[in-house]
């Protein structure tokens, strides 16, 4: 089903991008099930994945409604080129430090984003964001506590956290990119201007990195992007192949 999302209205497309971030992030976190370092982390990562899945369901439901597309059609019948998630969300998990640093970047971003979205002129998105912001606050708290513990922990945990920081940092710029549609939506007061989130994000992230003895953000000009336009890393194809396999093997199945 190609071009499933080509005709979406701008606000629906925006909700789809946010929903894809949550869906892909949820799937990556769920890959930790039975692999987490201890039971508490198992439960925590599963709960965070579940919250993200719940957010994805609401956002995909919103995105598809006016076009008659169900959340299942959007989740299970799009190919990678039709997914609009940021590249950060789809990168493979790596080690625990890698997953924690990504969750830290991502939850800091989502907390600011949802806080801004509570002021949306669209009442339904605003109500969604008010609920989601509370949940993401817990994700952020968890990610911050582990970033501090890993960064300011043993030599091994510090080195792993530092390696994760260096690898993931370039991908964070894409979260604040603005395209024509988003700029128009922001001008109408429907969504927060992504660029306005970048300053607070850098400040909050910088404070925690310093406390975690992870130093300042890496320099470098390589800032990959393209996820919002459907240009993904190869990692997304493998993820979707697994996530969509049951639905594609048994179309229309219910139980």
């Amino acid at each position: 089903m190609t071009a499933l999302t080509k005709t979406l209205k701008p606000l629906d497309g925006y909700a789809l991008a946010l929903g894809d971030d949550a869906l892909i992030s949820s799937h990556r976190l769920s890959e930790w099930l039975t692999y987490a370092p201890d039971l508490e982390e198992e439960v925590a990562l599963a709960n965070i994945a579940l919250d993200q899945l719940g957010q994805a369901r609401h956002l995909l439901g919103f995105a598809g409604r006016s076009s008659g597309l169900s959340e299942d059609e959007l989740a299970y019948q799009r190919v990678d080129r039709e997914y609009r998630n940021s590249l950060l969300a789809e990168l493979p998990n790596g080690d625990f430090a890698h997953t924690i640093l990504r969750l830290f970047f991502f939850s800091t971003y989502q907390r600011l984003l949802y806080a801004g979205l509570t002021a949306s002129a669209d009442g339904e998105l605003a109500a969604f964001a008010a609920k989601a912001a509370v949940e993401v606050g817990y994700h952020h708290e968890y990610a911050v506590s582990w970033t501090l513990r890993l960064g300011d922990g043993t030599e091994e945990s510090h080195d792993r956290a530092a390696a994760a920081l260096a690898e993931l940092w370039p991908y964070t710029a894409e979260l604040f990119a603005v395209d024509e549609d988003v700029a128009a939506l922001a001008a109408e007061g429907l969504v927060p201007d992504p660029e306005s989130l970048a300053g607070p994000w850098s400040e909050q992230v910088g404070t925690v990195l310093a406390q975690a003895t992870l130093g300042t953000a890496p320099s470098g000009t390589w800032r990959p992007s393209g996820g919002r336009a459907g240009l993904h890393t190869e990692a997304l194809g493998y993820l979707l192949a697994e996530m969509q396999s049951v639905h594609r093997a048994h179309p229309g199945a219910t139980w």
Binding site: E40, D51, A130, Y138
Partner: protein, 167 residues
């Protein structure tokens, strides 16, 4: 068939699928119950958490409870606005949760919630009472518990760990 209980009473009497000691009415998640001609009824529930896995079971249970009493269910919808908070749990619900060892949420601002990352990993707060000994000093063990709306704490007086409803 004539309904003996009002539709609202039936909906509010449905047990929560994950915490069956309390009802949907106790949890404060029944937003609206509207009856129309011919025993038709529409229900609006508000989810405690967006990913709450019990929501589908709740919708089915609500529809079954109404149908069994002769109502014709036209829809059980979800309503997010205004969002649910644990302050919506009734006094009766709080008592019943405490009786089974789940600390009800404290009604004040959550003292454990930090934004800047300056907190210790197991903050101590004085808001959640131990459901076993009534001790007022309890520490957060994990923000994530057996269901999305619960966290895990430990009592500093009797040493028992216990689940608490998140604020």
């Amino acid at each position: 068939m004539t309904a003996t209980k009002t539709a609202r009473e039936l909906v509010e009497g449905v047990p929560d699928p994950e915490m069956p000691w309390v009802t949907l009415g106790d949890l404060g998640i029944v937003r609206e119950v509207t009856t129309g001609p011919g025993e038709s009824v529409r229900v609006a529930l508000t989810p405690t958490y967006l990913g709450c896995p019990a929501i589908e079971a709740m919708r089915t249970d609500v529809a079954e409870a109404l149908t069994a009493q002769g109502y014709r269910v036209e829809g059980v919808e979800l309503r997010l606005d205004p969002p649910w908070t644990s302050a919506a749990i009734t006094e009766r619900g709080r008592q019943k949760l405490a009786e089974v060892g789940i600390a009800p949420p404290h009604l004040t601002e959550n003292a454990d919630m930090h934004v800047s990352g300056t907190h210790s990993s197991t903050p101590l707060s004085l808001g959640v009472r131990c459901p076993h000994c009534g001790g007022i000093e309890t520490a957060l063990l994990s923000r994530f518990g057996a269901s999305p709306c619960q966290e895990l704490r430990r009592c500093s007086s009797c040493g028992e760990p216990f689940p608490a409803v998140r604020s």
